[in-house]
Amino acid sequence: MTPGGAAPSARRSLQLFPFRNWADGLFFSLVGGVAFALLGVFCLLVLILVQGSWVTLQQFGIGFLFSTQWSPGLNPAFGAVPFIEATLVTSAIAMLLAVPVSLGIAIFLSEQSPQWLRTPLGSLVELLAAIPSVIYGFWGIAVLVPIMRYQVEPTLKVWSHGSPLFAGPASGSDVLTASVILAVMVIPTISALSRDALTAVPQSQREAALSLGATRWETTRMAVLKYARSGILGAIILGLGRAVGETMAVTMVIGNIDGTFTSLLSQGQTMASLIASEFGGADYAEYQSAILEIALILLAITIVINIGARFLIWRLVRKSGEVTA
């Protein structure tokens, strides 16, 4: 096949060298070389993390994934459980808070808002994504932590009647605050992507439901949300990917204490915040290797999450492509 999809039958005799002149061939090899180099960078990223964590991979094997010990001191022992746990818990709570709000925003922007308000309001929400994560962290320390410490957390303790979920002193720098800040940070991602999924729903879907006498909300629920569900799910999973890998804001408010946590008000350490706060002080090979292995696990988790999200979004694109065609 000739480059660029030109008619393949035109010059059959040139199939062995499908370029009309040497410059075409050179250009092709240049851009192709760069594209494959990018593939190489990705493979190198995985390889180097495996190589860097080889010491602990060999020493602890699969047990690294199940050990709760993280003591880099005199008798070093390393296990990933506390960090995996903190990462999953903070991301899950963040999703619980962010998903309903983001869906509300997406529905408002695509179904309810007057036309003139759509673009400015949509851009305003997307601007949240342009603010650097270290600023979220700094704002967290200065504004969110005091609010959580003096207002939200004492209230939660009262409401929950001493449930173990909210046991311990309300410090403000804890797993719960980290989850709240993560929720704020993933709202723009999820709402922008699910708005795109909602606006991609063909107008005839809405018209059909409205013509049957459905109210606006019933139309949204039955004809729009259901139609766009794989796109919305993709958006949520992509947001989850952001939350799992988010580093600076979490590092600044989670309290940075290695160890399993029992209450949402206790300090913790996610995988990303562990790397940010401890790698600089990792002063022997085994410790470094253990942190690199944490990075490897984090990479694996985000790759799985992203493959899932992209798969759902790609399926949506293919589906909407079929509908419009």
């Binding site: 075409d24 993390l49 709000v101 925003i105 997307e126 704002w139 909300w217 799992v244 992203n306």
Partner: protein, 307 residues
């Protein structure tokens, strides 16, 4: 009949309720945005001026207990941020656009689909992992230490790795929206494919290519985590005595705004905390400017296409 009326009332109530709920969600999301902008402007505004942005950093001190305690400047961090971002652009934008050309113009089969897919996956890799990747790559593969781990080069490499998948995918998408008729017209005139791509297709996709590059810059420019690991977080301007060439000057540790806000923001010294707010305001302003520019270009382009 009464039953039907009740049911309709419920349905309409639900309709109004959910409309209200959606509006409340928008307001909830705008509260943190407002709070962040307000706090940063309120606390950073009084500090921010030209001397602060370009000035040298001073020793930490407490304004209310020590006489002669100044906030100083954030010049080294500003310099380092722009130097690293500039170098990252020099690597990532040409390479990303080239890869985008390959995927959009030559990519029909499984190979290019796989590359696109992996680029999507790569753009989801946490930036701290990218920082660790560059650190380890230099640590294990550059035993001769030709390129220092804590240098502007290492920081730029990390930012470039973050930008590459974004530039690649956005340029691929931009080039795919160029109508095929343009390419066919070029071929009909006997113009070689590479010339058609460079002179015609790239030009007509220009605005979208710039938007994609700006979005990547916006993403990489706001990064802190990887720079914490590789840039060196220097407090000084890049040392470049006359006679030394620029290439070797940049092989020194540099400061950056993100790491500076991280360390100053949790410092016990009042001049550093005040400085962190000023730096935060400056950082937010730059990032918003980049992001708004990208969106304006995109907006004007869609307006034009709509007409």
């Amino acid at each position: 009949m009464k039953h039907g009326w009740n049911r309709d009332t419920r349905r309409h109530f639900m309709n109004y309720f959910m409309s209200g709920a959606a509006l409340v969600c928008v307001i909830i999301a705008l509260i943190p945005l407002g709070s962040i902008l307000w706090t940063v402007i309120e606390k950073g505004g009084p500090v921010l001026n030209y001397g602060f942005i370009t000035g040298a950093e001073v020793a930490p001190c407490n304004t209310n207990s020590q006489a002669n305690c100044h906030i100083g400047g954030i010049g080294p961090a500003v310099e380092g941020t722009f130097v690293m971002l500039g170098m990252a652009c020099l690597i990532a934008i040409p390479a990303g656009i080239a890869a985008g050309i390959f995927l959009a113009e030559y990519g029909r089969g499984r190979v290019s689909r796989t590359i696109s897919f992996l680029m999507d996956v790569m753009s989801g890799v946490p930036s701290i992992v990218v920082g660790l990747f560059i650190f380890s790559a230099l640590f294990y593969y550059d035993a001769a230490n030709r390129l220092h781990i804590f240098s502007a080069y290492a920081g730029a490499l990390a930012l470039a790795v973050i930008m590459l998948p974004i530039v690649t995918r956005t340029s691929e998408e931009a080039l795919r929206t160029v109508p095929n008729g343009i390419r066919e017209a070029a071929w009909a005139l006997g113009i070689p494919h590479h010339r058609a791509v460079r002179k015609i297709v790239l030009r007509s996709a220009g605005g979208s290519l710039i938007t994609g590059a700006l979005l990547a810059v916006a993403r990489a420019g706001g990064e802190t985590a990887p720079l914490l690991l590789v840039a060196g977080n220097s407090q000084f301007f890049i040392p470049c005595p006359p006679g030394q060439n620029l290439v070797s000057c940049l092989d020194n540790p540099v400061g950056a705004l993100g790491p500076l806000i991280y360390s100053w923001g949790s410092s016990p010294y009042s001049n550093q905390i005040a400085g962190a707010w000023g730096a935060a305001l400056f950082f937010v302003l730059i990032m918003l400017a980049i992001s708004v520019t990208a969106r304006l270009i995109l907006y004007r382009r869609t307006q034009k296409m709509g007409m």
